[in-house]
């Protein structure tokens, strides 16, 4: 069988035909034109799905389902997109609307869950039953795979590991709590930590390489300066990796996934990030006496995670 995966973004609707093993056979995209209401957007989506299927001369009977991933809150059982950060409408009955055009099973989920499913089926966590995928970006996204399926709680709102507090009364988080892991381990947090260090250490290379303009500081700035041996930057990175390690150790103590995947731009640092991270985790983890340890890996699916993970909802079910 084949599966259709839809990555519903604020800019583009990307659709892929995916095989049993999570490989994209063919993909295509159209602009989302996000100001529109859902019936028009779904009409374009349905036409694109049919075009992708026709391109490969696949019979619709050989397509087991359509999965849709998007940033936001799905009601997975109802097939309704309750809320999406990047779209204008709320409570859109996407399943019913798509089935007006293509009458096969339709599944919805959010982008973090779908990314975790993609890693589980075809990426860094393939072959194991339990995995967790953490995506370091503007926030800290997370998806939990248990027995090969997305787990997100009774109301589809779970798996918000980035919004678990690691410092009671700590840094304010966008979610309204103080001290969430996201407020310490996201790329946004690293940028803030780097800016503070640059301000407090005028002689640091952090100031030199940004020409003294703190607004030019990116997530990679502290890594760049650390590679040049800047002691302030080295301290920023060490502290940042500590925060990352504390949260990852929490995840392992709670879930003991066989594989934990880390994705996002920060992973471009490769072993420079991962080696000290793995060392810290191995010293802290509750099961450190056990012979069977969770492996920490870099996520592999990149931009295809949305399509592949959404498509695989049709294989695993919700």
């Amino acid at each position: 069988m084949y599966y259709i995966g839809v990555d519903l973004g604020g800019t583009n609707i990307a659709v892929g035909l995916v095989d049993e093993d999570g490989r994209i056979v063919h993909k295509d995209s159209v602009p989302t034109l996000r100001e529109r209401e859902y019936p028009e957007i779904v009409k374009d989506m349905a036409q694109l799905i049919l075009r992708v299927i026709e391109h490969e001369r696949i019979n619709i009977k050989d397509v087991a389902g359509i999965g849709i991933g998007c940033p936001g809150t799905p009601d997975r059982k109802a097939g309704v997109l309750v809320y999406a950060n990047n779209l204008k409408f709320d409570n859109a009955p996407l399943r019913d609307e798509i089935q007006k055009y293509i009458n096969i099973p339709v599944y919805l989920d959010n982008d973090a869950n779908v990314a975790a499913l993609a890693e589980s089926v075809a990426g860094a966590a393939r072959g194991v039953a339990h995995s967790v995928t953490i995506t370091i970006g503007t926030g800290v996204g997370s998806g939990i795979i248990i027995d090969g399926k997305v787990y997100c709680g009774f109301n589809d709102s779970g798996a918000e590991i980035g919004h678990a507090v690691i410092c009671v009364d700590g840094e304010p988080c966008t979610c309204g709590r103080d001290g969430c892991w996201e407020a310490y381990a996201s790329a946004t947090a690293l940028i803030n930590q780097t800016k503070a260090a640059a301000r407090n250490n005028p002689d640091s290379l952090l100031n030199t390489i940004t020409g003294g303009n703190l607004d030019k500081i990116e997530a990679k700035t502290a890594f760049d300066a650390a590679h040049m041996g800047d002691s302030t930057a080295l301290k920023v990175i060490e502290r940042y990796i500590t925060y990352l390690a504390e949260g990852i150790t929490n995840v392992i103590n709670i879930f003991q996934p066989e594989i934990l995947c880390i994705g996002g731009g920060v992973c471009k640092q490769g072993e420079y990030l991962l080696k000290p991270l793995r060392e810290m985790v191995s010293q802290k983890v509750y099961s450190r006496g056990s012979t069977r340890q969770c492996q920490i890996k870099v996520a592999e699916m990149g931009n295809d995670a949305g399509i592949v993970g959404a498509a695989m909802l049709g294989k695993t079910g919700i």
Copy 2:
């Protein structure tokens, strides 16, 4: 069918015959005599199991399995008790040893997982697929039920929610990390917090009611003084409930269980504890805009949790 549940403690071996609904039909116990090696202990256990079955005139063919719960680390697939806090031996092949006497399926798990399963089948979380049970005692124990079954990771070592850090660089924990939830929310932690407050506030009732002997402070001492209106005790309790609420909010953000059960002596405080706890959680939880919220309940199974939960391993499988 019936199920045998064994609660293997450091003092007694308690055995119960349990029905499909998690009701104890008959139970009995013998002393563990914990200094012994496992073959002798298992021999007594097997004889007690057979006695309990015979007492009810049940045919062994109507007993689907034997479940054993104990404090420690099981290898659930192998049926081996790798390590138990309260017993002398390591790596005991309990399944094989029991099956020398009674050749039916045998399951092992630790006490926190078994307690959670008992609540799920017959206690405060009955009727829902996903629940988490937190037990506040010397430590903070936790068991996770997903789709009606115990979840504890690929190596059986997960569900250590008490050893998730809520304060990076915080109070030292028995596990070797600093800042674990257990170091703030266990009964032990509450006692330490109460002692510190008594020391710093000589005029507090905390000193009066213990006759000035801080060693007499128990987990309930701060509650007792707070009920009498002591301002120091009220602050201790408010702060303690805050720590409890931060950890519980983390659990809900991650798992969104339909029901979260809290057990342990501190629950005797009833609504005095639960009302402010629920209020704090409802203000902090990530899904606070949703119409579907996790319910926080007091665990119901008490001393029967060990027998019932262990027995139900035979029904749910591992």
